[in-house]
Symmetry: D3
């Protein structure tokens, strides 16, 4: 039954507004257990001459890129070994951690480390979930891996989960878990 009136400065894209309405609806639903159909969101947009804080006009921000899509694009770039593109998603202090890798601080380091572990790996994604924290947005994506071991044998159906932390629209942390060690036992 909840109704949300969102007062927003004009200037956000329809895509961002759509994402916002879905995220707000999800939060209301998850917390109140109201039926989706009973949750309405209305965005009232005003121009910068129709809003003030402390008596001063303000400008709308640009909005953050879609966190889930960004993680998907980053993973696709990594799968394609397009490190240059992948770098564009990373904050300066980006840190990665894979099973047994310890903390890695560059994609080059990761590629080195992975070399002895598999020839290539492809992800089939089951779900990507976005958790909005106060300072950080956390994206987790899980599914299964398929690929080839260093000796050329194929593997598939191996479970994985990647957890990403995003700040200010960039990836600051990636933590990866998977069952490759179990599969290789």
């Amino acid at each position: 039954m909840p109704m949300l009136q969102v007062n927003l400065l004009k200037g956000y894209s329809p895509e961002i507004k759509h994402r916002l309405m879905r995220a707000l609806t999800g939060a209301v639903r998850g917390i109140t257990q109201a039926k989706p159909d009973a949750i309405t969101v209305w965005i009232h947009e005003v121009g910068s001459d129709q809003y003030s804080r402390g008596g001063e006009p303000r400008q709308p921000g640009v909005g953050a890129p879609d966190s889930a899509a960004m993680v998907g694009d980053f993973l696709a770039a990594m799968e394609a070994r397009d490190l240059e593109k992948a770098e564009t998603y990373l904050a300066a202090d980006f840190v990665m951690s894979f099973p047994g890798s310890g903390e890695l601080r560059s994609l080059a380091q990761l590629v080195d480390w992975a070399r002895g572990r598999y020839r290539y790996v492809k992800k089939t994604i089951i779900a990507t979930d976005v958790a909005y924290g106060m300072d950080t947005t956390v994206v987790t994506t899980h599914g299964t891996l398929a690929g080839e071991w260093p000796d050329g044998r194929a593997f598939n159906g191996i479970r994985f989960i990647d957890r990403f932390e995003l700040r200010a629209g960039l990836l600051v942390r990636q933590d990866v878990w998977n069952d490759l060690a179990n599969a290789n036992e």
Copy 2:
């Protein structure tokens, strides 16, 4: 700069309203990149005689339990091997998956399966994140494991992540990843 006016039926607890305001603020922040201080949420509560949908009055729901707290309580009950209490958090069709376990469908099955793997295990949690989807709430919690192998040797600092799906206030799925296999290599 965004302002949210939430129209809500009276009857939700202060705790639920607080959780709702934080979740909405997080979503707005994560998507618009507005500064937290500039995001205000106002809940206007009305009695059931002040609201109608389709001309009919409606009753407020009870709200869902705190998903993150619930997952914490479930994990604590499991660590304490209080299976009876742990069961109270589970939906009838609850499914679990651990590294190498395949799908398990009861806590008893899990205890059996775990028996040969470690004497006991304790979790140190780094973060718990809640992602509100349209039908499912996903809670992920990650950190490190400490415990004893079957042969009595101690282990600690082993990375883990648990992903839970909740529906209607109950756990329907738990997927667990950790580096126990790597640690034991």
Copy 3:
């Protein structure tokens, strides 16, 4: 899809608020053709210290009695020949018009006029409809009449419609049509 936020001074009864929400929902539905389920009404009530017009606080009115119920009560009083009670619903300048009666200005006049037409009459009501105009509320009620002719023969199933005009919570006009003349042909 429409959402109505009604700002109202505290003090109206739940019954009046319910009637108001239904009337607003009906008007929105009849004009926009939105589905009832998609039409929500929220009444935000404020105390008289939370409202001003022209800088001055105002007091809530008492609200009008339910127009449809009032017409029902008036007709029941008339059927029971309780003229004293019936009078309480009438404005000073009340006017009535029945088939062939011309304009009557008192209930006593009506009783006189009706004497030669039937021994008694009872109404079975099919529907009562309320039309809210800017100055006048119009209530129409239609259905069938049963009763006895002056010679004692029974009649029933004779169509009728009564149209009432209300101002300031009192009946100012009643216009009655029925098929008694046709039935008696």
Copy 4:
């Protein structure tokens, strides 16, 4: 003193918004007895990218045609014996009832039935009232009839009332009462 904020999807015509504001004002006035001047209605319109129900965008409806105008047009078409045009206002299951006619199901049937009753008839309308129900809109129009009896004698000033039920913008029922039988006695 009441203030209505109506949140509406963009796309309704100014005429529909005007009708809506008047109907809402009338309902508020009729039920709270607030003075018209103290009743304000504000329509906040949002684009389809600014609204969601259940997280999904929705499209505005087209709005219903003006019920009172539609009834006026239908009656004018009937008076002009333009049955083709009159048919366009009728739902498939349209039913009519006139004094002594029983239920008629087509305009052709009506014309047949009326043939012996008068040569022609013209309506002078006193008032048309619209009652918005939850599923049905009821329009009543009353006034006086003028015309010629089958034998050529003129008549006029004969009271009538027509009650129409509308659903989904079409007439589903017309019930007519008048004093023709009394006049002809």
Copy 5:
């Protein structure tokens, strides 16, 4: 923490909206002592087809000229002895009062009266303050005077304050105080 949603008819200039937002913020701040940064104002503008009072559409006013700016312009015109321009700011019943002048009713009268008092005078303004009353807007402006006495001696740093009453966008009263008499003692 206060949030103001202002519903306004479209048609006011950005300058008027800015002035309005600042005045509202100031009033909220002065009365609640909330921090400016915590006071937000949102103006929701609607077209004249989206608003009704008493069921009738209304037109927006043009807004009043900036009272502080108007007083500044009037004083500049007076300093430049451009009486023609200065007259345009005055209501028909404008009244002035200077130290020792009694009530003057025309600019010509003022010029006469001032002749023996100083050769010319220039104002350095410290602050201009606007007080919005229910019927009258009061503008006070204070600072120091510099100029020449009739005998040619210069003076400066002499305190003054002018108090103006405005109605319907015109000056209806000017009351002036200064320390010229003290300076000349």
Copy 6:
């Protein structure tokens, strides 16, 4: 025609809300020139569990004392030479300026300075106006003085204006102008 919805935390006194509604109405009236009767203010109060900024609950302030009343009380205490009471209204850095006095920094200094000027003085107030700035509230009060010169002669009808600056509910500055020097010429 403007409508203001003010969202406020519960806890402000009715007196503060009344003052706020009048000040807001005045500002709207002075700037838009809308008729007072057409300006409505609705205060929606929410408890501290119904509001968050940055996801955190906030507490309402206590509100500022009525600036105009405070100035009136201060002036009454000064007239009654109740310096102790008068001190309670002053900020630590309070500064006064009277005609010919230069800047005075304590009430004692003022009493000293005034001793040679008049035996006593009483104020008849014509109007008190409050201007809400972003950081400072300015109160001006003007009228006429009556009293006795040091030599015992009475005086009255002498124009005065006092301008006060208030910050955080205390007087930080008083500037006084009057025609005593002219009267004594």
